[in-house]
């Protein structure tokens, strides 16, 4: 049995998506980095913001399914077996998580920069 080769994986994805692959990867890296940065700065998950971002994440999940349906000229109504529902769940979940993390990071960074984050409230005033 031959092993998995990351180079093959990248080659196929590059053929599939072209330059968009790098844009998506950059977005993912920036989103995660931003999320971690906000988390470290605020030292807490802001539940109100997280809830709102999760609500937007639901839209992201639906958007991912719509995009997949458009690209494949088909849709989740064509699901024919359990693995199809698993795939639909994975697509929805990826859209949901990605959107949630990205929006939380963006929102949090804006709050931090505008001084509206909890971290700003805790920060000592400099005379």
């Amino acid at each position: 049995m031959q092993g998995f080769d990351i180079a093959v994986f990248v080659s196929v994805f590059l053929e599939m998506m072209g330059g968009i692959l790098w844009v998506l990867l950059a977005l993912a890296v920036m989103g995660i980095a931003g999320f971690v940065m906000v988390l470290l700065r605020e030292r807490t998950l802001v539940s109100r913001r997280l809830l709102r971002c999760q609500a937007m994440g639901l839209l992201g999940g639906v958007g991912a399914l719509v995009l997949m349906a458009w690209v494949t000229m088909s849709g989740f109504t064509d699901a024919g077996g359990p693995v199809d529902w698993l795939l639909i769940g994975i697509i929805f979940g990826t859209g949901l998580m990605g959107t949630t993390i990205l929006t939380y990071a963006a929102w949090g960074l804006i709050d931090v920069m505008t001084g509206r984050s909890p971290a700003s409230a805790r920060a000592p005033h400099v005379a």
């Binding site: 093959v8 080659s11 196929v12 599939m16 064509d78 024919g80 199809d84």
Partner: protein, 460 residues
């Protein structure tokens, strides 16, 4: 190796090239870890060894590859990565590269005519010489090929990847130029013919009537494509509300619908479910385009079937230059149509050991698909490189091939099998091979072409 659009030389296989997928625990792990269908689809490629990781073998060998279709280009890319100092020469006149698995999608109106078309030059590996001519003559005794302009090209090793001829001339009354009119379709004939077939089918969808589908009795590329197209036409008719006004007839060349018994039985059940009228042991011999009537040879003598739409799939043979050479089988089932004699596990010619045959032209059981190419080429390349390195290779091709057998819009069965007619699912326990699934359709529509292109570049 001319530019005639009725030929589809060297490009491997129509439609089912498909699931360029493969089996293995690593893929299952990948499946669990990676996101969505894209990961599933590319998992197919996960078992191909990286050529980059292999040490290049130094050699002065002259290697000629006859044919720059899927098999020829893949072989050139792999050899270029694994050899240093070799002279690798591709010979093929065609500047267009055709992704033949896309023809069915074009003929079903799902993709544009341009979808399968790209440039051969885009896939030729660095350092590989390309002679833009067809091969007119193979002379394995003298270790040379002669191009159409009369140029002799000597070699130390020859890889025959000369593809397949669509033999429309053997069908009485057939005129390829009339595809797209009078209910005539023929989606194997190239992207233009596939698009014209869609035009004929579109007219049929509006009027209803009798749709006649079939396959030839010869070896053929992608034996699943005739079935897929029948399923798609049926689905399109239902979508347009014309199915009840229409009859779908499928003329099978033998007593079976597919060479793999377990798959044939599944397809038979699906045909029954869809209400197709299957006529077994019907081999098309001619057509009257004016009267819209096709003639078939049957055990009970010639029979005519009238149609409003027909998808003609002609007999297929090895390219003429191959047939006229000493390379084909001299006896047995592959002799008559000139398929190149080759060991089915190593792809090496038994009478000319410095010759290999890969892709459609290889006289091996099954596997005239791009998926076959994907698994044949690394094996043949490994044997060739090992010999240049003074070693032996234990690489074996087990006949693996695959077919994402579309059964309706949005669903397909990912059928994979080997020489022994065993099913060889890439994702056992996850993607059932004989189940109509959306995930298999997703792979077919978005993952297979990228995998195919990566294969041409020797990266998958």
């Amino acid at each position: 190796m001319d530019k005639d659009t009725t030929r589809a030389p060297m490009e491997a296989p129509a439609d089912d090239d498909a699931a360029l997928a493969r089996r293995g625990l690593d893929r299952r792990t990948l499946l669990k870890l990676s996101a969505a269908g894209a990961a599933l689809a590319t998992g197919a490629t996960a078992v191909v060894p990286s050529a980059r990781a292999q040490n290049a073998v130094r050699t002065k060998a002259r290697i000629v590859i006859a044919g720059a279709g899927a098999a020829g280009l893949s072989m050139a890319s792999r050899l270029a990565r694994r050899l240093e100092g070799a002279t690798i020469t591709l010979i093929d006149a065609r500047r267009r590269h055709l992704y033949q698995p896309g023809f069915t999608l074009v003929a079903a109106g799902l993709k544009s005519q341009d979808y399968p078309i790209s440039r051969t030059a885009d896939y030729i590996a660095s350092g590989v010489e390309w002679i833009e001519e067809g091969v007119a003559e193979f002379d394995p005794d003298a270790n040379q090929v002669v191009t159409e302009s009369g140029r002799a090209v000597p070699y130390d090793y020859l890889v025959v990847a000369a593809g397949i001829d669509l033999d429309y001339d053997s069908l009485d009354g057939m005129e390829v130029s009339r595809v797209g009119r009078d209910g005539l379709g023929s989606h194997y004939g190239g992207p233009e013919a596939a698009h014209a077939t869609w035009e004929s089918l579109s007219h049929f969808l509006a009027t209803g009537g009798t749709g006649l589908f079939m396959r030839p009795a010869t070896e053929m590329k992608c034996a699943g494509a005739p079935l897929k197209y029948t399923f798609l036409a049926d689905d399109r008719l239902r979508d347009r509300g014309r199915r009840e006004d229409s009859q779908i007839i499928y003329a099978a060349h033998s007593k079976s619908l597919f060479s793999v018994p377990i798959v044939a039985e599944k397809v038979r059940m699906l045909f029954e479910d869809r209400g197709f009228d299957t006529r077994y042991e019907h081999v098309m011999t001619g057509i009257d385009l004016g009267r819209k009537e096709a003639t078939f040879a049957t055990p009970d003598g010639p029979k005519q079937i009238s149609y409003d739409f027909i998808n003609v799939i002609p007999p297929m043979r090895a390219a003429a230059a191959v047939r006229d050479s000493a390379l084909p089988w001299q006896e047995g089932p592959f002799a008559a149509d000139g398929w190149v004699e080759a060991d089915k596990h190593t792809l090496r010619h038994p009478r000319f050991p410095n010759v290999f045959a890969v892709g459609d032209v290889a006289g091996v059981p099954k596997g005239k698909t791009a998926a076959s190419v994907k698994w044949q080429v690394p094996v043949a390349a490994d044997h060739l490189v090992a010999q240049l390195d003074g070693k032996d290779s234990d690489a074996v091709y087990d006949g693996y091939t695959s077919c994402p057998l579309i059964t309706q819009m949005g669903r397909a069965m990912l059928v994979e099998f080997d020489y022994r007619n065993n099913l060889t699912p890439s994702f056992p326990g996850v993607v059932a091979p004989l189940e109509e699934l959306w995930i298999s359709w997703v792979m077919k529509t978005i993952a297979l072409k990228p995998t195919y292109i990566a294969m041409l570049r020797g990266e998958a």
